[in-house]
Symmetry: C2
Subunit: 386 residues, 2 copies
């Protein structure tokens, strides 16, 4: 019997880069990871030796997948909740948990739940048609943010409507899973912040430093950790909000809160993600325990690792698919230019705008780290050639 025999197996639905980075974190913990992938070339499947290929929307596939695992977790929020409820009744440990997942899957439930807890958010309403949107606009004015309450991610399923003529186009757009929409005021924020919490079944929580994130077209582009020009007091308040939500929703695992910073000491909660998140990739190199390791520790009810910084500052910049489909030569160039750069590639087919990797760099001076990380990301994708 190997010593592995006593160690648990985590089942992960979805085989994208989040799962790939979970596998990377699992080896030294001697934790086994089994994947339910959609195709054998999903990027986590490429590095896994325990993959089932199947449709996560099919209950029987899920049930069979859960037979030899200790806990079930997720790369995304698209697994039908009714399937998970049935699996839970059969004793499958669903992590982060049904309540947390329902908030992540349906933004209307998320807004309703957080409002009941009196947490600060943009003004919002759940609407079913154009007339209800007009009534909401009459109260708070244009433009409005219109969100598909289910099925959106990375800016998909989110629109800005300048006036009522634009609304018609949006509510006839392809994402039709919603029978309702969430409409929100468009917040005039100074910047976006994010914070990550790991929470275990027995209630132990750790919270990472608050970071500043920049989105372009709804996709995370850059993260600075910790967020510059944020007082300790303000950072603690934001961490307290995240911990409050974790407890409120009984989250198990890593979850993230994205917030609007209004610049007057006030923040509004934008989105929640019930899993490791792009805005937390900096933790792989910038923190004592990465979000992926702490996710595994949390869902298995292992004691959590320290979220402390390994460096005064860390910058993360996403690498989005560009005109190069062979990234190996630019990869070499970036390594040669900057021996301290940590380039993380996901092994994905390069498509325009697709997340194919990220770079982390740790050090003292944020402006210097930003220049180096953006240079690498731009060079890797062919946006610049020197």
């Amino acid at each position: 019997m190997t010593s592995s025999a006593h160690f648990p197996t985590v089942g992960v639905v979805g085989a994208g880069q989040l799962t790939r980075m979970m596998i990377e974190a699992s080896a030294r913990l001697n934790i086994n990871i089994k994947l339910l992938a959609e195709t054998p070339i999903d990027c986590a499947a490429l590095i896994s030796n325990n993959v089932e290929i199947g449709d996560y929307k099919n209950y029987d596939t899920l049930r069979k997948f859960c037979e030899n695992i200790d806990v079930l977790t997720f790369d995304h929020e698209h697994v039908p909740l009714e399937h998970l409820k049935k699996l839970e009744l059969q004793g499958v440990k669903i992590r982060p948990g049904i309540k947390a997942l329902s908030c992540a899957q349906d933004k209307a439930i998320m807004r309703t739940t957080l409002s009941e807890a009196k947490l600060d958010m943009p003004r919002w309403a759940i609407v079913k048609n154009k007339e209800e949107i007009e009534n909401f606009a009459a109260k708070i004015g244009w433009p409005l943010v219109i969100k598909s309450s289910v099925g959106g991610y990375d800016g998909k399923g989110v629109w800005i409507a300048q006036d009522i003529t634009e609304v018609q186009k949006i509510i006839e757009s392809p994402i039709k899973e919603s029978s309702q929409w969430l409409v929100e005021e468009r917040v005039n924020f100074k910047r976006e912040l994010a914070v990550h919490v790991a929470r275990s079944p027995h209630g132990q929580s750790v919270v990472y430093p608050v970071v500043q994130s920049t989105q372009v077209d709804g996709v995370c582009e850059e993260v600075i950790a910790p967020a510059p020009n944020l007082s300790d007091n303000h950072a603690s308040q934001i961490q307290a909000i995240a911990l409050k939500i974790a407890e409120l929703l009984d989250v198990i695992g890593v979850f993230s809160v994205e917030l609007f910073d209004l610049g007057d000491g006030k923040v509004l909660i934008n989105e929640l993600a019930m899993r490791p998140h792009n805005s937390g990739h900096w933790t792989i190199d910038g923190s004592n325990t990465s979000q992926f390791e702490n996710h595994l520790r949390a869902i298995l009810d292992l004691p959590l690792g320290s979220p402390s910084l390994t460096s005064p500052n860390t910058v993360m910049v996403n690498v989005l698919g560009g005109q190069f489909d062979d990234m190996y030569k630019p990869f070499m160039h970036c390594m040669a230019r900057d021996p301290e750069l940590k380039i993380h590639l996901y092994g994905k087919e390069v498509k325009l705008g697709r997340k194919v990797g990220h770079v982390n760099i740790c050090g003292e001076k944020v402006s210097d780290l930003l220049e180096r990380a953006h240079h690498a990301a731009d060079y890797l994708t062919g946006k610049i050639t020197e």
Copy 2:
């Protein structure tokens, strides 16, 4: 076509913990690793999706294994050199290279080569029988260190003889691969040091800080990085020795030099290892680029990563198999006691004295780090229970 298609594949002979940690380092670099393992439960095979099972002493097995790889590297030094020479003639890139491997495989060649370069070592002789050992002892006195010139590792194949009556037992001992022995003076050293270099085919080298290592029964027990009470000047001299050897032997990849520190500013070269080494495991958490990542970068002629420290000090302590065969509960206990501890488990079957993992801890105060790392290692193996 996935972006992986342009990325190289590294073939590794051997599937122990060194290979396992190479696989961990490979994922984010998008480098493919293919293994030649002895059994499917070799600890690197347990986490790999590209394993061939076969005998590394069989030439045809090796040749077939090399068909779809870009470079060949090793977990150990036991592959027959004549096979590697034939493979090299057929165009296989052997890393670290034949010259370096011959020094690692045969201590007599190593001593001869380094002596020609006028590097400081314990006084030594190559001997074929008891009479030649007596002649050497007559010159330098007892006790003597007697080493099997090939086939030894982790203290195996190394004996101390107090007098000539002990010699007889040793040269009839089971390790018989040597038709000759290396005999050396027993050095009265103050401590042991080690230093690690990564060197690439185009000659780029990086050298890690010099560390202090403690061996018990020939097995590495503890490493302190950087070595305490070592002047910058002395450390630079030792790093220069390692760089000189790397160039002399045309090493490609990571290699390590173990030295005796005589305490008077003088060091003697003890052993060389032509691969990542136990005394370099601290780099996984304590350095910007681990020895495993730099080994992959070096053998693929990728630019090397920075060997700079991420923390003022890092302590590594080996976890040796003890009375627990279920390590999961002590693993939880150690995590709970110390959230900053980085426990690395290899997934190996627990056997008494076998290397089954190591712990790293980074911080300021060496005495504190030593206490914490030894506590964890002792608890994990059942030596202590609180």
